[in-house]
Subunit: 474 residues, 2 copies
């Protein structure tokens, strides 16, 4: 029997894809990485996942786990050898249980994020993980990459939203770890080791996730600011004034808003006069457990204080849900509107908030000195210290010029990030894209420890090879 | 040169203790475990810690890390062979830096928790970790055991309060991981692996911890309840009504309060008439970012609703700080007042909140059927699903009878915990005390993975041997 026939025997003809059927699973959605696969398998249960893993271990066949295939770093795309089997979790898509008294829900890895959010809402609860790809990405992928998104400031990353896991090891053993406990100090934290390991240590097949009360009201405001320093000061005032009710704080450079209104003329910057010409804007969101009026009062108090202190130049507080949505829509349109600047080189970086202003100033200057006339397109989740620091060609470079300089631009930005104590991947992970940059920036002791863990949990090196870490040195 | 002379040569005479000077470090504070040590060393810097570890690795000398020596499971006490060196972190007690804009602080492992709380307050911030031993325990010990305490409901365990670590490996390498980043997806989560590993994988020498805004006001209430079911319902209403402002929810059985007023007659149960005779009480705390009046209004709204729904029988809301402190003092006096019941067998367990009432009913019945007349002394952090389910001799057993039955009582309670999907150590860790119970309750795949990680990160088995895991099977 051929390898593929063995898989068909195990899972049935319709759940083993090859040839053209397999093709969509072997290229990432942005078309940056194209690979080959021996086959794509779609097991329908954790026991079938375990069977595939035992088969993989016996025959030394590499496995590439895949969720919604919406990753940004090529982490779910096989290499070009065609040796690997892509293991799609798409059929493990059940909400196994909802426990409102415990504020938990058990969901399988293949559940689409949006359907999990909806299942929580149906139970009168909030599952706060929220990101652009939520209509297609899966919980398993979210956990494998420790996804971030717009609610991290209040609720944390994907990691912070999980209590328990079910995991299949490379040997095909099942760890039944779906505990719904907020406190459990009986040994090493395997849960957090698998979360964020991008499928290189084992396969997450289900998770016990945390639910929260739905907010009673939300209120949004946009602030016009003179500097990143002022944005950091307002953030500090908002944390103090709103406590845990502060659920969003986004920083936006003016040219990003101009890009949006250029691409989508029906949208507008909500300021007139000199305020419309300031260099920076911030979008704040407050989630209130009392009422819309109460949310607005609190907003007015803190923003009023910030204006009086000269930290905020101007402010618009949404009067209603429609206005609130319009403000968020401006922010959410930025990634699409970036095409106004032509192709750009994107960076997903984090910096301690206190060093953010210095980082932006220093990095802008470094780029200008290396590439005079290049354009900065900067926005991000300031509340988390996470900046999408993107670089466009401006008036002086052609697209080809810019792409020729891609590696050099990465180095200038990432070197600066490193110098300011930051991370070169805040929320997208490592995958293939940043794997070879890791040794340049990662503490060598840390990198060596990561290799030891990889060797301990995947001694045959079959789990998503070539992702996160280069092949282990034996 | 003798081994001890080598240590003296490395650290100086005054930082290497032997004989009587070493004795306080070789017994746990409750006097349950007594060990022997080759010596106690008190390095004064991370480089000195690394030097001791290199020496330990070269000569295969086991190392027992120790903080404030306030642990409850014997995790910091050496065994009786006298082969090990106790490594005290007490001299690494500096607050290295405070960054209010980033809401972080870098503290060394030997800092006393209370001094860290104070340093945060001096900077106008809250470090929320808070527990009974805070005047003597150290941050290093808190992280090694992933300490819990009274603020977990809102702020999480020690693990949730840390962004970065500095760790010395068993080989004496230093991982410089003191990142102050809220988002960093560049590889495996080593931070959470070391946190909670009880010194069996390496030595945490410093941490970057998270700071929060100080609450503007706090309000406390005590509720009288007919059942644990009702307590769970009120918890759900309080979560919904207060959101993240709910910072405490403690459950207390009436006999615990009676024990307190028996031992400390100046304290009183704040209810009269039938409410004073109900079986259960709950202590709620709300932390408000606005004002004392606002906190009280919110409290009255939610408690009023709960009374109307028949879920709360009676309620006392503290009028001022003095009354609030008196209510907390009642709760905090329980562990000391337990002596009113004679010696007791203590359990630190967690259960999904939704199964708590069933767990208490079932476990009480099981104990009564095995040991008729035995007494239950139950209180704990209901908001976290964490119960201190203690068992006293009642009127029918002598102390000796009770202690004779200790192992059997552990088994009845822990078997029940296991049956209800709970954990036999919610916040105290494993240490020596619960090490041999682990294989009875832990998923065997999980336990095997823990052994693999131990083997990968401490291949010579020199880090705190015999704690958490039994010696690895080679």
């Amino acid at each position: 029997m051929s390898r593929v026939d063995e898989l068909v025997h195990m899972l049935g003809q319709s759940h083993v894809l090859t040839g053209e059927e397999a093709q969509p699973y072997t290229v990432d959605w942005r078309g940056r990485y194209t690979g080959q696969a021996l086959a794509v398998v779609r097991p329908g249960s954790v026991d079938e996942v375990a069977a595939v893993m035992r088969w993989s271990a016996a025959h030394r066949v590499p496995i590439v786990p895949q969720g919604g295939n919406t990753g940004l770093c090529g982490g779910a795309t096989p290499d070009s050898t065609g040796d690997a089997v892509v293991l799609s979790l798409a059929r493990l898509n059940q909400v196994r249980s909802v426990d409102t008294d415990n504020d938990t829900m058990v969901v399988e890895a293949g559940c689409i994020l949006q359907s999990v959010q909806q299942a929580a809402r149906d139970a009168g609860r909030l599952f706060p993980l929220s990101l652009a790809a939520e209509g297609s990405c899966t919980v398993g992928g979210n956990l494998a990459t420790n996804a971030g998104g717009t609610q991290v400031l209040r609720y944390g990353n994907a990691r912070d939203l999980v209590l328990g896991l079910e995991v299949v090891t490379p040997e095909g053993d099942i760890w039944h770890g779906l505990r719904g406990l907020r406190k459990d100090n009986t040994g090493y934290d395997l849960r957090n080791l698998y979360i964020g390991s991008e499928g290189t240590l084992g396969i997450i097949t289900a998770a016990t996730i945390k639910l929260y009360p739905l907010p009673v009201a939300q209120c949004t405001a946009m602030l016009a600011l003179n500097s990143v320093e002022d944005a950091v000061k307002v953030l500090s005032m908002a944390r103090q004034g709103f406590g845990a009710a502060l659920t969003g704080f986004e920083l936006i450079a003016r040219n990003c808003l101009e890009g949006v209104t250029h691409c989508y003329p029906q949208q507008r910057i909500p300021f007139d006069g000199p305020s419309a010409g300031l260099p920076w804007y911030a979008l704040l969101e407050l989630s209130d457990s009392e009422s819309a009026e109460h949310a607005r009062e609190r907003f007015e108090a803190v923003v009023g204080e910030a204006i009086e202190a000269g930290v905020v130049a101007d402010a618009v507080i949404a009067e209603n849900i429609t206005q609130s949505k319009a403000l968020w829509h401006l922010r959410e349109s930025i990634p699409l509107a970036e095409k106004a600047f032509g192709k750009s080189i994107k960076h997903d970086v984090s910096i301690p908030v206190s060093r953010m202003a210095d980082f932006v100033r220093t990095t802008n200057a470094a780029l200008q000195s290396h590439f005079p006339g290049i354009q900065h397109v900067i926005f991000g989740h300031l509340g988390d210290g996470n900046l999408h620091y993107n670089v466009a060609r401006g008036d002086v470079f052609s697209e080809a010029d810019l792409l020729d300089r891609q590696a050099a631009i990465y180095d200038v930005v990432h070197d600066s990030v490193h110098q300011f104590g930051g991370s070169i991947s805040a929320e997208h992970g490592v995958g293939q894209l940043k794997r070879d940059a890791l040794p340049r920036y990662k503490d060598p002791v840390e990198l060596a420890l990561m290799h030891r863990i990889k060797q301990a949990l995947d001694p045959q090196g079959l789990m998503n090879p070539g992702k996160v870490l280069a092949a282990a040195k034996h």
